[in-house]
Symmetry: C2
């Protein structure tokens, strides 16, 4: 990737590294090498590591390293049909593990990071979530006043301890994530996500080439949605490129 970007500076603005999350110690070293030596803009991780949640203490040094490097982490959902949707079934049918399961898993990742106190430890950590923040913006009433009441729905253990460990409301941390615009032409969703994260934390992305046209469709539709948004041109430029230039520290002509 580094070679390709170096070879075609007018084609590629940068690249993002993959790191060996199943070996956190090696991953920390690779984060350092990729960003400092190879010039990666950041790293991409997935919402689980061989089925394990990212709030396990083993993974903490990776987030610590990325905060120290001041380079963003892209988070991509990862889930297959192995999560059944009903207790009487063995797998998720009709690719619903993809349709709804992916944004669900992104949302779970976000919540687990919030309650692990990740942003209290590393307030400048930059995590870019796919599909415009998973379910969080549309269900901000649940991550907001809903999670303020954490524990009210559970009798077996006292969950309010998780609220008391945080310095702020859960909702304040959910707003510290960044989010991309990959919503496939849903203009209302784009507005909703932008309302939640604000113009400084939303970055253009299309998810090309996974549209029915196999390339051009989602790019065109995402641009169409962005262009009709009732925001200033300056804010629109932030979403298209300004936030990326800043966050990725791109040195472009």
């Amino acid at each position: 990737m580094a070679e390709l970007v170096a070879k075609h500076p007018n084609r590629f603005a940068g690249f993002v590294a993959a790191v060996p999350m199943n070996d956190p110690e090696a991953a920390v070293k690779e984060c350092e090498r990729a960003v400092k030596k190879l010039g990666a803009a950041g790293v991409q991780i997935f919402t689980n590591v061989n089925g394990r949640p990212l709030d396990e203490p083993d993974f903490l040094p990776i987030f610590e390293k990325m905060a120290e490097l001041d380079a963003p982490i892209w988070v991509h959902p990862a889930r297959g049909a192995g999560f059944p949707d009903y207790q009487t079934e063995k797998k998720s049918k009709l690719e619903l593990w993809w349709v709804f399961g992916w944004p669900y898993e992104t949302s779970i990742f976000m919540a687990r990071m919030v309650f692990a106190g990740l942003f209290d430890r590393f307030p400048k950590l930059k995590i870019i979530t796919h599909h415009l923040g998973g379910m969080v913006p549309y269900f901000s009433g649940r991550t907001g006043p809903g999670l303020d009441q954490l524990g009210a729905r559970t009798e077996e253990e006292d969950l309010t301890v998780y609220l008391r460990r945080l310095k702020k409301r859960p909702q304040d941390y959910f707003k510290m994530f960044y989010a991309d615009t990959a919503t496939f032409g849903a203009a209302g969703a784009l507005r909703c996500g932008l309302d939640f994260f604000g113009v400084d934390r939303v970055l253009f992305a299309s998810d090309s080439p996974f549209d029915p046209e196999k390339g051009a469709g989602y790019i065109r539709e995402t641009i169409r949605c962005l262009d009709v948004l009732d925001i200033s041109e300056a804010d629109r430029r932030k979403i298209y490129e300004g936030n990326a230039r800043h966050l990725l520290r791109l040195k472009l002509p």
Copy 2:
């Protein structure tokens, strides 16, 4: 419920019946009795029946009966911590089964009903989904162009057969659901859901008394969001009461 409504006509506009879904034959009879004899506005069901999905053929006569009675079905999510969020865990932590799992389960229910051909069989069936249609409006890019490509992510079986069985695009059926406004003060979510379903299919609901104030909060916040929506006063009245009057066939003073 019927007695209470009859006793306090100025306090209650109507009621909705619970029916024994674990015995579909009895449920069909109770739907008929509740609506025709007791004057129920409709019935409420949950997104699963003892863990079973609602697209099992056993449940079909219930939907058929409600379509015949031309009375709506309210669908409420039902899921506990028993759906783990990671393969290495035994249960869903931090009440995330509630925060995100409930809207997820609503969305799965909707998709399964769509692909069961429910709206091809009963085009006039009226199903009111909680929390503004679950995840569907925010992820309408996934239920739209995403599900138009059903099968593209699966090798073990040919899922395109499910598309060919339907008369229309999956997205067209997702838009046939009704949705309530219980989004707990998230104005952006309300706009997004309204964009998707349209003003004729969204009904006021607050989810009171499950707010931190234990009653008034979600009512007040939902009204605040509705009142700032950039829609005509006539459309706003539809959401507040017109759609309910029509759908529930309320006979009010």
